[in-house]
Amino acid sequence: MPRAFAAKVLTANDLLEGDVVYLAADDRWVRDHREAELLEDEAVAEDRLLYAESRAAEVVGPYLADARGGPDGPEPIHFREAFRTRGPSNYPHGKQADV
């Protein structure tokens, strides 16, 4: 049996700032994981990746990362993606500085 598709968000880094960004359902690049579009269908996810790649003037290195729905919006699954939603653990820099 083919494995069930695990939900994803589309993420990348902002071209000018380098900051982590996510693709929202309305095609905006947002900085908060919870505002990302949760992609639960594989074909849609692949389509969104192609679309993100066409916006190379704004972002670098778009890819699909595993995520799940949560009460406030999508949540990361892997610890690497969780770190990307916050910033480094040794200083209050990065996204966590804006909270």
Binding site: L15, L16, G61
Partner: protein
């Protein structure tokens, strides 16, 4: 120190002008990321987890106070007020914005610094003993040779697209503080019949397949340095594997072809190219050497150290012997317990620059252990230097001890990481301080990498820690018995890895076991390990397994 010529300045200005235009073309959409990425990497600009990172080369770890002040200014103006010193004697700025990078590079060029060849499959920053030019035990200052190699390798047309990156380290002392045995080429200055020459090692390296370098030539006359290195790199350039990035380093080339065959090919190539060198390299070396003439030593009386326990404890471990008995080498620890190894704030950089200008003949060094060295401090000034460091929170007395931990940036910054390193280093150092065992434990090298690339040199740590991703969870593997010096050895894996919240207690168990196992207080951790073998240390790491077996 080496002074840039007009040609050097013009070269940098032109490179920076080109890069500025490339950034603009990327921003206006005329360059794709695919086209731009190799260009930015050639100029030291990486994209990490949360931001860009600019890696600046500090040639053979030597800085003037003006250069360090400029790094402080850059940290403050375009970054978040600090910089991270790496195991390759470089500095990394973790938060630059793309559009600011050309300005940062121009600012660096003002003081003769740049980021060229801090990435890519090129010859990287040539590293050296951080006590170079000051050590009591050195045959000669290796920095003129390192500078010669730097000039030869920078923008070398034949060596911009090697099979893989290439690292050269030079030491002037048999004590090997530069880890030359873990470099693609390791050079050790030696003296024979009143002449200077090199022992040449090749094929050392850490990473996925760690290897200790092998002797390619036991004696190479000084005059043959460049043609011989060129011969090695060109043999590698042809022979090195380009089909598999994991097998592309020269260590694998040496392993697959054997040191005898590599030696034959290098000697053949050397004989061919040597006549073309005609002595221009030696003229250049002499010119460079004049710039590294030792400073004019002050002839002051040496008063005894004041009877201050803090000062004495610091001098015990952070101060080393100088070639001039009136002087000392001061290592400033960037490893305050709980701090990020290798980080210095702009304020601290300025304090260090001022101290170097006032007390150290204007020189500083960055060590691969991620500390800062004031290489020439007169013993009459040790108390004043210590007081100034203390006021700047830079007087941690732990050089060479358990909390003087090497840690790579790991998953707090690095895009390649499989786990974090920094908080593990912080946790271990804090625990050691809380237990108050550091002095008792004595010399111990703990080294942590956040992935198999081993930038944190974990293989050659007395205790090495490698952070991995095991099924989506951070997991830390311990290796024991490694060593980075003249007795270089690759540590042995102790057993199954530990979870993030188990790794600090595991290290604590190792230290407690060592204290009980050692023959006498002078027996270092690594010596006890060599004497006893892994079994008692494994029993301490895995008490349940030991209990089950009993």
């Amino acid at each position: 120190m080496y002074e840039y010529s007009e040609a050097d300045h013009a070269f940098l200005a032109e490179r920076n002008r080109q890069f500025r235009a490339q950034v603009e073309r990327r921003v206006d959409g005329s360059l794709t990321e695919e086209e731009f990425k190799p260009l930015r990497l050639m100029n030291g600009l990486y994209l990490q987890l949360h931001a860009y990172m600019l890696r600046v080369a500090i040639p053979y770890g030597t800085l003037s106070s003006d250069q360090l002040r400029k790094l402080a200014e850059i940290a403050e103006r375009w970054d978040k007020g600090y910089g991270h010193f790496t195991t390759r004697q470089n500095i990394q700025f973790n938060w630059p914005r793309l559009r600011d990078v050309p300005d940062m590079l121009d600012a660096l060029a003002e003081v003769g610094l740049h980021a060229i060849q801090t990435s890519g499959n090129t010859i990287r920053n040539v590293t050296a003993d951080h006590f170079a030019g000051a050590a009591a035990d050195e045959v000669a200052d290796p920095r003129p040779h390192a500078e010669l190699l730097r000039q030869w390798s920078t923008d070398h047309p034949e060596f911009q697209f090697l099979p893989r990156k290439f690292k050269i380290a030079v030491t002037g002392s048999a004590a090997d503080r530069a880890v030359i045995r873990a470099h693609d080429i390791g050079l050790e200055l030696r003296e024979k019949d009143g002449k200077i020459g090199f022992r040449v090692l090749v094929g050392g390296g850490l990473g996925r397949t760690p290897m200790i370098g092998k002797v390619l030539r036991d004696w190479l006359p000084e005059a043959d340095l460049l043609p011989y290195c060129e011969a090695i790199v060109s043999v590698y350039n042809l022979l090195g594997r380009r089909d598999n990035k994991y097998k592309a380093r020269i260590k694998i080339t040496v392993h697959e072809h054997g040191i005898e065959e590599i030696s034959r090919l290098v000697e053949e190539r050397f004989a061919l190219i040597r006549p073309a060198f005609r002595g221009a390299d030696r003229t250049l070396l002499n010119r460079i050497r004049a710039m590294f003439a030792p400073p004019e030593w002050a002839d002051l009386p040496v008063p005894p150290l004041p009877d201050d326990p803090g000062l004495r404890a610091w001098a015990d471990v952070n101060v080393a012997s100088h070639r001039n008995p009136g002087y000392a080498i001061v290592t400033v620890s960037l490893k305050k317990h709980g701090a990020t190894p290798g980080d210095a704030t702009a304020g601290q950089m300025r304090v260090l620059a001022d101290l170097a200008a006032r007390y150290a003949h204007d020189e500083l060094r960055i060590s691969h252990e991620q500390n800062v060295v004031l290489p020439h401090v007169h013993r009459a000034h040790l108390a004043a230097v210590h007081a100034a460091l203390k006021a700047a929170d830079l007087a941690t007395a732990n050089v060479g001890l358990a909390s003087d931990i090497i840690a790579c940036p790991g998953m707090d910054y690095c895009a390649l990481a499989t786990a974090r390193s920094i908080p593990v280093a912080q946790g271990i150092a804090e625990r050691i301080e809380a237990l108050r065992i550091e002095r008792d434990v004595g010399e111990l090298q703990i080294k942590i990498s956040g992935c198999i690339n081993a930038c944190g040199h974990h293989h050659v740590g007395h205790i090495g820690i490698l952070g991995l991703d095991r099924a989506g969870v951070e997991n830390y593997q311990i290796t024991l018995g490694g060593s980075a010096g003249p007795d270089a050895a690759i540590g042995e894996r102790a057993g199954p890895g530990f979870a993030y919240d188990e790794i600090v207690p595991a290290v604590e168990r190792l230290l407690t076991a060592y204290l009980a196992l050692r023959e006498e207080p002078g027996e270092r951790f690594v010596d006890a390990y060599r004497r006893l073998g892994p079994a008692p240390f494994k029993a301490a790491l895995y008490p349940e397994a030991a209990r089950d077996a009993a």
